[in-house]
Structure formats: C-alpha cells, structure tokens
C-alpha cells in the first residue's frame, strides 16, 4: 500500500510536532478529566494523617530540576499537609542539584502560613554528599551530618532541632525522590535499620520498582509520578500544577499508544523487507 509506505518513511520530526501540540493544547484549553484516588496514594494520605498533630516529621527531598514536574507538586502538597497539621518539618536534600529548588518550593508554601517561622516550625538542612553514608550518620544524630543548615545557620542552635536527636525523634519519614539516592536507599538504610515508618513520592520511571516495598509494608504509601501527585492534590482538595497537567498527560499517553499500534500495523510484513 503506498499510504503505508509514506508512513514508514515518515520523518520523525512530524511525530515530535504532533506530540508537542497534543501536550500544549490541553495546557491552554483544559479538558478537566475526572481523577480517582488510587490505593497507594490513599495510603500516603492516611499515613500523614495518622501522624500526631504537632510532632516533628523528617522530609527528604532527593531530586533536582529535571524532576520538577513530578516532584515539586508532591513536595508542595506534602509540606502544606504537614504544616496544616501543625507538624514541625525537618528537610534534607541528598541530590546535589536540588537544594536551591527545594528551598524555593518550601519558602513559597511556608508563606501561606504566616504564623510558621523558619527555624521554629521548619528547617531546610540543605545538601550533603555521601548518599547512604549520610543516612546512616543521621541515625546517630541528625545534626552530626548537618552541622549547618541551608542558610548557613548552626543547626543545633535552631529551636526546631532542639527536640530532634536521631530517627527515633520522628514518627514518619516523607521521602520525595527521583532516583539514586532515594526511596530504595531510605528503605534499606533507614526504614529497615532504624524502623522509621516511611511514605514515598517518586518519579513514574521508578514507581514500579517500589511496589514490592508497598506490598511488604516497608513503605506505607506511594505517589507515582505526576498522576500520583495529581491524585494527592485531589485527596487534599487542591488544584495544583499536577492536576492541571493531567489532561496533557492523558493525550500524550493516547498518542504513544496509538504510535505503538500504528507502528506495528504498518510493519506487519517480514523483517527482511527492512534491510
């Protein structure tokens, strides 16, 4: 068939163009497709809800700007969720590219709570190199690994850190991570070693890898990618950037599915024809 011939020789830049337009269009003219909150996301919400109000929670934001669309909405909603429960939050960053981004996101959310003060209600301990080694050292004392915070302040002198010694000071670890080091390492080095309950928000690429941890109860809840973030926003009654991105996400998925099917349809002939 000549039509199929054309398709097979199609310059891939046409596909790029269609993909671009399909993602762009719903961002400008939203379709507002309905969302349902799935079980792993509900587990995440429940685990944070169960934390006693006013306790101090550890949150590790292990990502860099390449994870913005998936990680930032999760960070925002989780931080808001915790501050809304009057929890104090201690934040660490184990990705070198991340601390500046994480601090901007946290500061922006903290401004919504005029009574929450930096150093009293939350602290950003910033970045530390060493991946698993940092996690294990924190087990003997959080401030041992982070003598100074993101702003260069002595972290032991901050009011929020006075009630924090090691992992036993936290009822929950909230980990938002894009890869290594991230959820896997927190499970291995901290959840397993120090018995600290944890929930995780991760990129979609790595989410399937963490389902075994979810089933085993090593993590109590899981946000997988932008869809997970959008469901979390829905569960919290927010309409953030993840929710706004879901329509574009749907169209993008439809297009990739269409590409797989069409690509196979026009290539039903023997493989020899190619070479």
């Amino acid at each position: 068939m000549p039509g199929l011939e054309v398709l097979e020789k199609l310059d891939r830049r046409w596909l790029f163009l269609i993909m671009g337009l399909l993602v762009l269009e719903p961002l400008m003219f939203p379709l507002a497709l309905p969302l349902t909150v799935t079980r792993p996301v509900q587990g995440f919400v429940d685990a944070i809800d169960k934390v006693p109000d006013g306790s101090t929670v550890l949150m590790s934001c292990d990502y860099d700007p390449s994870g913005i669309p998936e990680m930032v909405p999760m960070t925002r909603t989780a931080f808001r969720h915790l501050l809304g429960k009057n929890c104090k939050v201690v934040i660490t960053v184990l990705w070198p590219g991340g601390p500046g981004l994480v601090d901007s996101v946290l500061s922006e959310v903290a401004r919504e709570f005029p009574d929450k003060k930096y150093g009293v209600d939350w602290v950003n301990l910033g970045y530390k190199s060493g991946n698993e080694a940092v996690m294990v050292v924190m087990g003997q004392g959080i401030a041992n690994a982070f003598p100074r915070d993101y702003r260069g302040l002595d972290s032991r002198s901050l009011p929020v850190m006075r009630e924090v010694r090691d992992y036993a000071s936290f009822p929950l670890l909230v980990n938002i991570s894009s890869g290594y080091p991230g959820t896997k390492e927190w499970v291995q080095q901290v959840q397993a070693r120090f018995h600290l309950p944890m929930v995780a928000g991760v990129t979609a690429v790595s989410a399937p890898e963490y389902y075994p941890y979810l089933q085993s109860g090593q993590i109590r809840g899981l946000l997988g990618g932008m869809a997970g973030a959008a469901e979390y926003e829905k569960a919290r009654g927010e309409k953030g950037s993840a929710t706004r991105g879901m329509d574009a996400q749907s169209l993008g998925h439809l297009f990739v599915a269409f590409c797989i099917l069409l690509g196979n349809l026009i290539r039903r002939r023997p493989a020899e024809a190619r070479s």
């Binding site: 961002l27 530390k128 080694a133 291995q188 080095q189 399937p208 990618g225 991105g245 996400q249 998925h253």
Partner: protein, 236 residues
C-alpha cells in the same frame, strides 16, 4: 486568555535557553551547542562550589578550626566553652580525628599529578570499604530478608476467592521469575515450564515499566511547557 509577558530578565534567559535546547529536535545546531556547553560549565562550577560550602567547610574545616583555634570560623569570636582533648572523640564530635578524612580527601587530587596518582587509592579504598559494608547489609536486610519475609503470605483465605487467586498468582509468579534466573541446570522439564512462566511475568512487569516510563517523560515535557506558558508568556 491573554499574554502577560514576564518582566523578569532571569525568566527570559531561562526561556530562551529552554528553546535553544528544544531546537535540537529539529537537528543539532549551534544554539543547542551553546546551551549544552553552558550547561556543562555552569553545573561543573556549581558542583565545585556546592561541595566546598555545604560539605567541606561545615563538616571538616569548621569543626577542625574550632578545635584548633578555639574561635568561631566566621565571626572570629573566642568560643565560650573550651574543648579540651584534641583526640577525645565522642559520638558525632570527632575533633582532631577529622584530620584523617581531610588528608584522604586531598590525596584524591594526586590523580591530577600522574606519578603519585596511586596515593589516591588509599582514599578510594576507604570509601569503597565503607560503601561495600553499608550496601551489603542494607541490601541483605531491606531487599533480601524483608522482601522474602513479606512473601510468606497465606495462599487461601476462606470466603475471599479474589484474595486466594491473587495470592496464588503472586506466589507462582515470584517463584517462576526467580527460577528464570537459575543457571545451574538446563531449562528443560519442570524447570523449563517454570522459567517459561517466569518470562511471562517478567514481560508483564516490563510492560508496566514501559507505561510508567512514558508517563514520566511526558510529565517532564508538561513541566517545561508549564514554565514557558505560565512563567514566561504569562498566559491566563
């Protein structure tokens, strides 16, 4: 819907660089190369200074300085509490002992000077020893024993056929996937059946992985478009 172009010079820079990189989709071109090289340069500079200010200074230089000079590194004020005992270490306060990681860190730079490059092996050996130890036990507990323990689940529950079916499928899937990676015997007979079954489970797993990877990549694009539309063009 109307445009509210950003007045922030920084946003413009970010937007222009974003477009430079997108131009790679058409073909490799000087604009892409400019952005690419600038990116490598800026991130290398950023990394050096980041490690200096966030790790080497607070975790090494400052505690050593306090111990040796009895003064605050930044203000130069004498410290109120004297800290006797240069090597009187306790948990989290290693005082003079910190000289050791300091020296090992500097030894790494011997690699820049060909002949004494072997000195960096001592530092490397120390790092590798620490990580080999941490990782071995971390995987043993978190990924091996804990995962195995969680697999020991009842295969049937009276009055819950869905649970029974899923539990059996899961257990068979786990065992057959494990046996697919069994290399001490040819995959014939019963083992052959199991390993064939294992491949099917693995493929279903990879399919799920494919779907989730697609989701991640499209999200990244959405994020960049949101930046261009919201922050730069200010479409509202």
């Amino acid at each position: 819907m109307s445009l509210h172009l950003s007045h922030d010079f920084g946003i413009w820079i970010g937007a222009v660089l974003t477009l430079f990189i997108f131009s790679f989709l058409y073909k490799d071109n000087p604009f892409y190369k400019i952005a690419e090289h600038l990116f490598v340069g800026v991130s290398a500079g950023y990394y050096i200074i980041l490690y200096w200010w966030t790790v080497i200074v607070p975790n090494l230089i400052e505690p050593l300085w306090k111990q040796l000079a009895h003064r605050d590194l930044w203000t130069g004020q004498p410290l109120l509490q004297a800290r006797p005992g240069l090597f009187a270490a306790e948990l989290g306060d290693y005082r003079g002992w910190l000289v050791i990681p300091g020296i090992l860190g500097l030894l790494l730079f011997s690699r820049l000077f060909g002949k004494i490059g072997w000195l960096s092996r001592w530092s490397l050996a120390m790092i590798i020893g620490v990580y080999a130890g941490i990782k071995t036990t971390g995987f043993a507990q978190g990924d091996f024993v804990a995962q195995l323990q969680a697999s020991l689940q009842p295969l049937w529950k009276a009055g819950d056929p869905a649970f029974t079916i899923n539990s059996v499928i899961f257990t068979v899937g786990l065992i057959s996937s494990l046996l697919f990676f069994f290399f001490s015997r040819e995959h014939k007979g019963t083992l052959g059946v199991f390993s064939r079954l294992g491949v099917f489970f693995l493929m279903a797993g990879f399919g799920a992985g494919y779907g989730y990877t697609v989701m991640s990549r499209i999200s990244l694009l959405i994020g960049r478009f949101q930046f261009l539309l919201d922050n730069w063009l200010g479409l509202r």
